[in-house]
Protein backbone atom coordinates (compact mmCIF):
# COMPACT_ATOMS: atom_id res chain seq x y z
CA UNK A 1 0.00 0.00 0.00
CA UNK A 2 1.46 3.33 -1.08
CA UNK A 3 1.06 6.65 0.73
CA UNK A 4 1.98 10.25 0.02
CA UNK A 5 1.83 13.09 2.51
CA UNK A 6 2.43 16.80 2.07
CA UNK A 7 2.86 19.65 4.51
CA UNK A 8 4.09 17.53 7.45
CA UNK A 9 7.42 17.52 9.22
CA UNK A 10 9.33 16.01 12.10
CA UNK A 11 10.17 18.86 14.50
CA UNK A 12 12.23 17.00 17.10
CA UNK A 13 13.33 13.58 18.29
CA UNK A 14 14.44 12.23 21.65
CA UNK A 15 15.59 8.76 22.70
CA UNK A 16 15.30 7.71 26.34
CA UNK A 17 17.38 4.67 27.32
CA UNK A 18 17.27 2.79 30.63
CA UNK A 19 20.57 3.43 32.41
CA UNK A 20 20.82 -0.26 33.33
CA UNK A 21 23.37 -1.79 30.95
CA UNK A 22 24.26 -5.47 30.54
CA UNK A 23 27.14 -6.81 28.48
CA UNK A 24 27.19 -9.76 26.12
CA UNK A 25 29.98 -11.25 28.22
CA UNK A 26 27.54 -11.30 31.17
CA UNK A 27 24.78 -12.79 28.96
CA UNK A 28 27.08 -15.59 27.83
CA UNK A 29 27.24 -17.04 31.31
CA UNK A 30 23.55 -17.99 31.12
CA UNK A 31 23.87 -19.74 27.74
CA UNK A 32 24.46 -23.46 27.39
CA UNK A 33 26.99 -22.70 24.67
CA UNK A 34 30.79 -22.88 24.25
CA UNK A 35 32.48 -19.58 25.08
CA UNK A 36 34.57 -19.56 21.88
CA UNK A 37 31.42 -19.91 19.80
CA UNK A 38 29.69 -17.13 21.71
CA UNK A 39 32.61 -14.85 20.92
CA UNK A 40 32.24 -15.58 17.19
CA UNK A 41 28.54 -14.81 17.47
CA UNK A 42 29.42 -11.50 19.14
CA UNK A 43 31.64 -10.49 16.23
CA UNK A 44 29.34 -11.51 13.39
CA UNK A 45 26.07 -10.28 14.89
CA UNK A 46 27.48 -7.14 16.48
CA UNK A 47 26.41 -8.03 20.03
CA UNK A 48 28.28 -6.13 22.73
CA UNK A 49 26.02 -4.53 25.33
CA UNK A 50 22.37 -3.60 25.67
CA UNK A 51 20.10 -1.44 27.79
CA UNK A 52 17.48 -3.25 29.82
CA UNK A 53 14.73 -1.68 31.87
CA UNK A 54 14.63 -2.75 35.50
CA UNK A 55 11.61 -4.97 36.28
CA UNK A 56 9.67 -2.10 37.83
CA UNK A 57 10.19 0.25 34.86
CA UNK A 58 7.30 0.34 32.40
CA UNK A 59 6.66 2.01 29.06
CA UNK A 60 4.77 4.92 30.64
CA UNK A 61 7.74 5.64 32.97
CA UNK A 62 10.20 6.01 30.10
CA UNK A 63 7.69 7.97 28.02
CA UNK A 64 6.64 10.42 30.74
CA UNK A 65 10.31 10.99 31.59
CA UNK A 66 11.09 11.87 27.96
CA UNK A 67 8.12 14.16 27.42
CA UNK A 68 8.82 15.98 30.70
CA UNK A 69 12.41 16.45 29.56
CA UNK A 70 11.15 18.14 26.39
CA UNK A 71 8.60 20.28 28.25
CA UNK A 72 11.18 21.35 30.85
CA UNK A 73 13.49 22.52 28.07
CA UNK A 74 10.76 24.42 26.24
CA UNK A 75 10.87 22.16 23.18
CA UNK A 76 7.29 21.02 23.83
CA UNK A 77 4.40 22.95 25.35
CA UNK A 78 2.00 20.67 27.20
CA UNK A 79 -1.05 22.61 26.03
CA UNK A 80 0.01 22.28 22.37
CA UNK A 81 -0.02 18.48 22.30
CA UNK A 82 -3.17 17.48 20.40
CA UNK A 83 -2.50 13.75 20.04
CA UNK A 84 -0.38 11.04 21.67
CA UNK A 85 0.28 8.05 19.43
CA UNK A 86 2.00 5.30 21.40
CA UNK A 87 3.41 2.35 19.49
CA UNK A 88 4.20 -0.49 21.87
CA UNK A 89 3.98 -4.25 22.35
CA UNK A 90 4.57 -4.03 26.09
CA UNK A 91 1.79 -1.85 27.52
CA UNK A 92 1.61 -1.13 31.25
CA UNK A 93 -1.74 -2.98 31.40
CA UNK A 94 -4.00 -4.95 29.07
CA UNK A 95 -6.45 -2.12 29.72
CA UNK A 96 -6.61 0.87 29.75
CA UNK A 97 -4.43 2.09 26.90
CA UNK A 98 -0.99 3.21 28.06
CA UNK A 99 -1.30 6.43 26.02
CA UNK A 100 -4.19 7.40 28.33
CA UNK A 101 -1.99 6.73 31.34
CA UNK A 102 0.77 8.91 29.88
CA UNK A 103 -1.74 11.70 29.21
CA UNK A 104 -2.99 11.49 32.78
CA UNK A 105 0.45 11.41 34.39
CA UNK A 106 1.52 14.44 32.36
CA UNK A 107 -1.70 16.32 33.17
CA UNK A 108 -2.36 17.05 29.50
CA UNK A 109 -5.60 18.69 28.41
CA UNK A 110 -8.72 16.57 27.82
CA UNK A 111 -8.89 17.68 24.18
CA UNK A 112 -6.27 15.15 23.15
CA UNK A 113 -6.44 12.07 20.95
CA UNK A 114 -4.74 9.13 22.71
CA UNK A 115 -4.07 6.01 20.72
CA UNK A 116 -2.11 2.80 21.37
CA UNK A 117 -0.90 0.85 18.36
CA UNK A 118 0.36 -2.72 18.73
CA UNK A 119 3.28 -2.72 16.32
CA UNK A 120 6.97 -3.52 16.58
CA UNK A 121 9.89 -3.23 14.24
CA UNK A 122 7.96 -1.23 11.62
CA UNK A 123 6.25 0.78 14.36
CA UNK A 124 8.15 4.02 13.84
CA UNK A 125 6.78 4.26 10.32
CA UNK A 126 3.29 3.12 11.27
CA UNK A 127 3.30 5.77 14.02
CA UNK A 128 4.47 8.50 11.64
CA UNK A 129 1.82 7.55 9.08
CA UNK A 130 -0.87 7.72 11.77
CA UNK A 131 0.44 11.11 12.92
CA UNK A 132 0.37 12.48 9.38
CA UNK A 133 -3.23 11.27 8.96
CA UNK A 134 -4.28 12.91 12.24
CA UNK A 135 -2.70 16.19 11.15
CA UNK A 136 -5.24 16.35 8.33
CA UNK A 137 -7.78 17.34 11.00
CA UNK A 138 -8.25 21.06 11.65
CA UNK A 139 -8.17 20.50 15.42
CA UNK A 140 -4.85 18.65 15.41
CA UNK A 141 -1.72 20.73 14.89
CA UNK A 142 0.85 18.73 16.81
CA UNK A 143 1.20 14.97 17.40
CA UNK A 144 3.65 13.29 19.75
CA UNK A 145 4.58 9.82 18.49
CA UNK A 146 6.07 7.53 21.13
CA UNK A 147 7.82 4.30 20.21
CA UNK A 148 8.47 2.52 23.48
CA UNK A 149 8.99 -1.04 24.61
CA UNK A 150 10.30 -2.96 27.61
CA UNK A 151 10.15 -6.30 25.85
CA UNK A 152 13.31 -7.56 27.55
CA UNK A 153 10.99 -8.49 30.42
CA UNK A 154 9.57 -11.14 28.09
CA UNK A 155 12.80 -12.55 26.61
CA UNK A 156 14.40 -15.63 28.14
CA UNK A 157 17.95 -14.98 29.40
CA UNK A 158 18.68 -18.59 28.35
CA UNK A 159 17.72 -17.94 24.71
CA UNK A 160 20.87 -16.97 22.86
CA UNK A 161 18.83 -16.37 19.68
CA UNK A 162 16.94 -13.46 21.22
CA UNK A 163 18.34 -12.28 24.56
CA UNK A 164 21.63 -10.70 23.38
CA UNK A 165 19.74 -8.45 20.98
CA UNK A 166 16.94 -7.45 23.37
CA UNK A 167 16.90 -3.78 24.24
CA UNK A 168 14.46 -1.38 25.86
CA UNK A 169 13.91 2.26 24.93
CA UNK A 170 11.37 5.01 24.42
CA UNK A 171 11.64 7.43 21.52
CA UNK A 172 9.59 10.57 21.22
CA UNK A 173 9.05 12.18 17.84
CA UNK A 174 7.30 15.54 17.54
CA UNK A 175 5.29 15.75 14.33
CA UNK A 176 3.75 18.98 13.06
CA UNK A 177 2.36 20.68 10.01
CA UNK A 178 4.89 22.28 7.71
CA UNK A 179 4.62 25.24 5.38
CA UNK A 180 6.84 23.64 2.76
CA UNK A 181 5.15 21.50 0.17
CA UNK A 182 7.73 18.72 0.13
CA UNK A 183 6.14 15.37 -0.66
CA UNK A 184 6.73 12.47 1.71
CA UNK A 185 6.50 9.02 0.11
CA UNK A 186 5.83 5.86 2.09
CA UNK A 187 4.70 2.28 1.66
CA UNK A 188 3.46 -0.44 3.96
CA UNK A 189 2.82 -4.16 3.59
CA UNK A 190 1.52 -6.79 5.99
CA UNK A 191 1.31 -10.58 5.97
CA UNK A 192 -0.51 -11.98 8.98
CA UNK A 193 -0.29 -15.51 7.60
CA UNK A 194 3.33 -15.50 8.80
CA UNK A 195 2.60 -14.07 12.26
CA UNK A 196 4.06 -17.06 14.10
CA UNK A 197 7.59 -16.17 12.96
CA UNK A 198 7.80 -13.59 15.74
CA UNK A 199 5.47 -13.67 18.70
CA UNK A 200 4.88 -14.07 22.43
CA UNK A 201 2.59 -17.13 22.46
CA UNK A 202 1.16 -16.81 25.99
CA UNK A 203 -0.20 -13.94 28.05
CA UNK A 204 -3.11 -12.84 25.88
CA UNK A 205 -6.65 -14.18 25.86
CA UNK A 206 -5.86 -17.02 23.40
CA UNK A 207 -3.39 -18.60 25.83
CA UNK A 208 -3.42 -16.93 29.25
CA UNK A 209 -0.27 -17.07 31.37
CA UNK A 210 -0.18 -19.98 33.81
CA UNK A 211 2.43 -21.85 35.79
CA UNK A 212 2.83 -24.12 32.75
CA UNK A 213 3.36 -21.27 30.28
CA UNK A 214 6.02 -19.83 32.58
CA UNK A 215 8.03 -23.06 32.60
CA UNK A 216 11.34 -22.99 30.71
CA UNK A 217 11.53 -25.66 27.99
CA UNK A 218 14.41 -26.96 25.88
CA UNK A 219 13.60 -25.60 22.41
CA UNK A 220 16.73 -26.91 20.69
CA UNK A 221 20.02 -25.33 19.66
CA UNK A 222 20.92 -25.06 23.37
CA UNK A 223 18.11 -22.56 23.98
CA UNK A 224 15.57 -22.53 26.81
CA UNK A 225 12.44 -20.42 26.87
CA UNK A 226 8.84 -20.42 28.11
CA UNK A 227 5.61 -19.80 26.21
CA UNK A 228 5.47 -16.48 28.08
CA UNK A 229 8.67 -15.46 26.30
CA UNK A 230 9.27 -13.91 22.92
CA UNK A 231 9.98 -16.52 20.28
CA UNK A 232 11.56 -15.83 16.92
CA UNK A 233 12.09 -18.10 13.95
CA UNK A 234 15.43 -16.54 13.02
CA UNK A 235 15.75 -18.25 9.65
CA UNK A 236 12.23 -17.28 8.58
CA UNK A 237 12.63 -13.66 9.71
CA UNK A 238 16.04 -13.36 8.06
CA UNK A 239 14.72 -14.63 4.75
CA UNK A 240 11.61 -12.46 4.98
CA UNK A 241 13.78 -9.36 5.39
CA UNK A 242 16.23 -10.24 2.63
CA UNK A 243 13.41 -11.07 0.22
CA UNK A 244 10.93 -8.27 0.91
CA UNK A 245 12.95 -5.20 1.87
CA UNK A 246 15.11 -4.54 -1.23
CA UNK A 247 12.16 -4.52 -3.68
CA UNK A 248 10.17 -2.35 -1.24
CA UNK A 249 12.94 0.26 -1.23
CA UNK A 250 13.30 0.09 -5.01
CA UNK A 251 9.57 0.73 -5.36
CA UNK A 252 9.64 3.58 -2.83
CA UNK A 253 12.52 5.39 -4.52
CA UNK A 254 10.97 4.91 -7.95
CA UNK A 255 7.68 6.41 -6.74
CA UNK A 256 9.56 9.34 -5.21
CA UNK A 257 11.54 9.91 -8.42
CA UNK A 258 14.79 9.36 -6.55
CA UNK A 259 17.81 7.13 -6.92
CA UNK A 260 19.82 5.49 -4.16
CA UNK A 261 22.48 8.20 -4.58
CA UNK A 262 19.93 10.91 -3.67
CA UNK A 263 19.57 9.49 -0.13
CA UNK A 264 21.94 10.76 2.56
CA UNK A 265 21.37 7.83 4.91
CA UNK A 266 19.36 4.63 4.97
CA UNK A 267 18.09 4.47 8.55
CA UNK A 268 16.77 0.95 8.94
CA UNK A 269 15.51 -1.13 11.79
CA UNK A 270 18.44 -3.07 13.27
CA UNK A 271 17.92 -6.70 14.35
CA UNK A 272 21.65 -7.42 14.06
CA UNK A 273 24.72 -6.22 12.17
CA UNK A 274 24.91 -9.28 9.89
CA UNK A 275 21.38 -8.76 8.57
CA UNK A 276 21.98 -5.05 7.86
CA UNK A 277 25.28 -5.69 6.09
CA UNK A 278 23.63 -8.30 3.89
CA UNK A 279 20.81 -5.89 3.07
CA UNK A 280 23.27 -3.10 2.24
CA UNK A 281 25.30 -5.44 0.01
CA UNK A 282 22.21 -6.61 -1.83
CA UNK A 283 21.09 -3.01 -2.39
CA UNK A 284 24.56 -1.82 -3.41
CA UNK A 285 24.75 0.68 -0.56
CA UNK A 286 28.01 1.41 1.27
CA UNK A 287 27.81 0.18 4.87
CA UNK A 288 28.55 3.71 6.18
CA UNK A 289 25.28 4.96 4.65
CA UNK A 290 23.27 2.31 6.50
CA UNK A 291 24.36 2.56 10.16
CA UNK A 292 24.24 -0.79 11.98
CA UNK A 293 25.58 0.00 15.46
CA UNK A 294 22.39 0.32 17.53
CA UNK A 295 22.26 -3.35 18.53
CA UNK A 296 25.94 -3.19 19.51
CA UNK A 297 25.44 -0.23 21.84
CA UNK A 298 21.85 -0.50 23.06
CA UNK A 299 20.14 -3.66 21.78
CA UNK A 300 17.17 -3.90 19.46
CA UNK A 301 14.42 -1.73 20.92
CA UNK A 302 11.82 -2.94 18.43
CA UNK A 303 9.90 0.12 17.15
CA UNK A 304 12.34 2.40 18.97
CA UNK A 305 15.34 1.20 16.97
CA UNK A 306 14.95 3.51 13.94
CA UNK A 307 14.56 6.73 15.97
CA UNK A 308 17.39 5.58 18.27
CA UNK A 309 19.48 5.07 15.15
CA UNK A 310 18.68 8.66 14.11
CA UNK A 311 19.33 10.40 17.44
CA UNK A 312 22.48 8.38 18.18
CA UNK A 313 24.11 8.50 14.76
CA UNK A 314 22.77 11.71 13.21
CA UNK A 315 21.88 13.84 16.25
CA UNK A 316 24.67 16.39 15.76
CA UNK A 317 23.99 16.79 12.04
CA UNK A 318 20.22 17.03 12.33
CA UNK A 319 20.31 19.81 14.88
CA UNK A 320 21.91 22.04 12.23
CA UNK A 321 20.93 20.75 8.82
CA UNK A 322 18.42 18.85 6.74
CA UNK A 323 19.12 15.33 5.48
CA UNK A 324 17.16 13.20 3.07
CA UNK A 325 16.56 9.95 4.92
CA UNK A 326 15.15 6.64 3.79
CA UNK A 327 13.58 4.71 6.67
CA UNK A 328 12.67 1.02 6.67
CA UNK A 329 11.17 -1.14 9.39
CA UNK A 330 10.39 -4.86 9.18
CA UNK A 331 9.31 -7.51 11.63
CA UNK A 332 6.40 -8.60 13.79
CA UNK A 333 3.07 -9.05 12.03
CA UNK A 334 4.71 -9.65 9.65
CA UNK A 335 4.89 -5.98 8.69
CA UNK A 336 7.30 -4.11 6.48
CA UNK A 337 7.23 -0.38 5.74
CA UNK A 338 9.44 2.36 4.37
CA UNK A 339 9.42 6.13 3.98
CA UNK A 340 11.60 8.75 2.35
CA UNK A 341 11.55 12.32 3.66
CA UNK A 342 13.70 15.32 4.47
CA UNK A 343 14.42 15.60 8.19
CA UNK A 344 15.95 18.58 10.03
CA UNK A 345 17.07 20.96 11.26
CA UNK A 346 15.46 19.67 14.45
CA UNK A 347 14.78 21.57 17.67
CA UNK A 348 16.08 18.54 19.54
CA UNK A 349 17.75 15.30 18.45
CA UNK A 350 19.17 13.84 21.66
CA UNK A 351 19.83 10.50 23.32
CA UNK A 352 19.46 10.55 27.11
CA UNK A 353 19.45 8.10 30.00
CA UNK A 354 16.40 7.37 32.13
CA UNK A 355 16.76 7.39 35.85
CA UNK A 356 13.90 6.70 38.20
CA UNK A 357 14.89 9.83 40.15
CA UNK A 358 13.86 11.86 37.12
CA UNK A 359 17.24 13.35 36.30
CA UNK A 360 18.38 13.02 32.72
CA UNK A 361 22.06 12.33 32.12
Amino acid sequence: MKFTFRGKRVAGMLTVLPSNERTFLEDMKAFDFPEAKSMKLKTVMGFDRHRLATPETCVSDLSVFGIRYLIDRGVLQAESIDALVLVTQSPDYLMPATSNIIQGRLGLKNDVFCLDINQGCAGFLVGLMQAFLLLEQESIRQVVVINADVLSHRVSPKDKNSYPLAGDAACITIVERSADGEMIHANLKMDGSRHEALMIPAGGFRLPSTVETAELRDVGDNNWRALDHLTMNGTAVFNFVQTEVPPMIESLLRDAGLSSGDIDYFMFHQPNRFMLEKLADRMGIAHERMPNNVVEHFGNGSGATIPTNVTFNLGAQLRDQSLRLCFAGFGVGLTWASMVMNVGPLAVCDTIDYTSEGVAA
Partner: protein, 76 residues
Amino acid sequence: MARILDALRDIRPEQDFAASINWIDDGLLDSFDIMMLVSALDKAYGISIAGTDIVPENFKSLEVIGALLRKHGAEP
Protein backbone atom coordinates in the same frame (compact mmCIF):
# COMPACT_ATOMS: atom_id res chain seq x y z
CA MET B 1 37.02 -27.00 -0.79
CA ALA B 2 39.78 -26.90 1.83
CA ARG B 3 38.81 -23.39 2.95
CA ILE B 4 35.19 -24.45 3.40
CA LEU B 5 36.28 -27.37 5.57
CA ASP B 6 38.61 -25.11 7.55
CA ALA B 7 35.70 -22.75 8.24
CA LEU B 8 33.42 -25.63 9.25
CA ARG B 9 36.03 -27.10 11.61
CA ASP B 10 36.52 -23.70 13.17
CA ILE B 11 32.78 -23.25 13.80
CA ARG B 12 31.88 -26.82 14.83
CA PRO B 13 35.15 -28.63 15.67
CA GLU B 14 33.25 -31.44 17.42
CA GLN B 15 31.27 -32.52 14.32
CA ASP B 16 32.26 -35.22 11.85
CA PHE B 17 31.10 -33.64 8.61
CA ALA B 18 32.34 -36.57 6.51
CA ALA B 19 29.90 -38.90 8.27
CA SER B 20 26.76 -37.08 7.09
CA ILE B 21 25.25 -36.40 3.69
CA ASN B 22 22.83 -33.74 5.01
CA TRP B 23 24.33 -31.50 7.68
CA ILE B 24 21.05 -29.66 8.32
CA ASP B 25 18.78 -32.70 8.71
CA ASP B 26 21.41 -34.42 10.86
CA GLY B 27 21.76 -31.37 13.12
CA LEU B 28 25.43 -30.66 12.42
CA LEU B 29 24.74 -26.98 11.64
CA ASP B 30 22.14 -24.67 13.16
CA SER B 31 20.98 -21.24 11.97
CA PHE B 32 23.70 -19.38 13.87
CA ASP B 33 26.36 -21.73 12.51
CA ILE B 34 25.17 -20.86 9.00
CA MET B 35 25.51 -17.12 9.64
CA MET B 36 29.01 -17.60 11.05
CA LEU B 37 29.91 -19.82 8.10
CA VAL B 38 28.65 -17.21 5.62
CA SER B 39 30.67 -14.53 7.37
CA ALA B 40 33.80 -16.74 7.21
CA LEU B 41 33.25 -17.65 3.54
CA ASP B 42 32.61 -14.01 2.59
CA LYS B 43 35.98 -13.11 4.09
CA ALA B 44 37.87 -16.14 2.76
CA TYR B 45 36.66 -15.71 -0.82
CA GLY B 46 36.20 -11.91 -0.93
CA ILE B 47 32.52 -12.17 -1.84
CA SER B 48 29.16 -11.32 -0.27
CA ILE B 49 26.79 -14.29 -0.40
CA ALA B 50 23.35 -12.86 -1.16
CA GLY B 51 20.98 -12.70 1.80
CA THR B 52 18.30 -14.51 -0.21
CA ASP B 53 20.70 -17.45 -0.64
CA ILE B 54 21.25 -17.82 3.11
CA VAL B 55 18.79 -20.67 3.54
CA PRO B 56 19.56 -24.00 5.24
CA GLU B 57 19.30 -26.09 2.05
CA ASN B 58 22.26 -24.18 0.56
CA PHE B 59 24.50 -25.38 3.40
CA LYS B 60 23.59 -29.05 3.68
CA SER B 61 26.80 -30.49 2.16
CA LEU B 62 30.23 -29.59 0.84
CA GLU B 63 29.08 -29.95 -2.77
CA VAL B 64 26.07 -27.66 -2.28
CA ILE B 65 28.19 -24.99 -0.59
CA GLY B 66 30.69 -25.29 -3.44
CA ALA B 67 27.90 -24.64 -5.94
CA LEU B 68 26.78 -21.59 -3.93
CA LEU B 69 30.30 -20.18 -4.00
CA ARG B 70 30.54 -20.72 -7.74
CA LYS B 71 27.24 -18.88 -8.17
CA HIS B 72 28.90 -15.90 -6.47
CA GLY B 73 31.96 -16.09 -8.74
CA ALA B 74 34.31 -17.87 -6.33
CA GLU B 75 36.21 -21.09 -7.04
CA PRO B 76 35.93 -23.30 -3.96
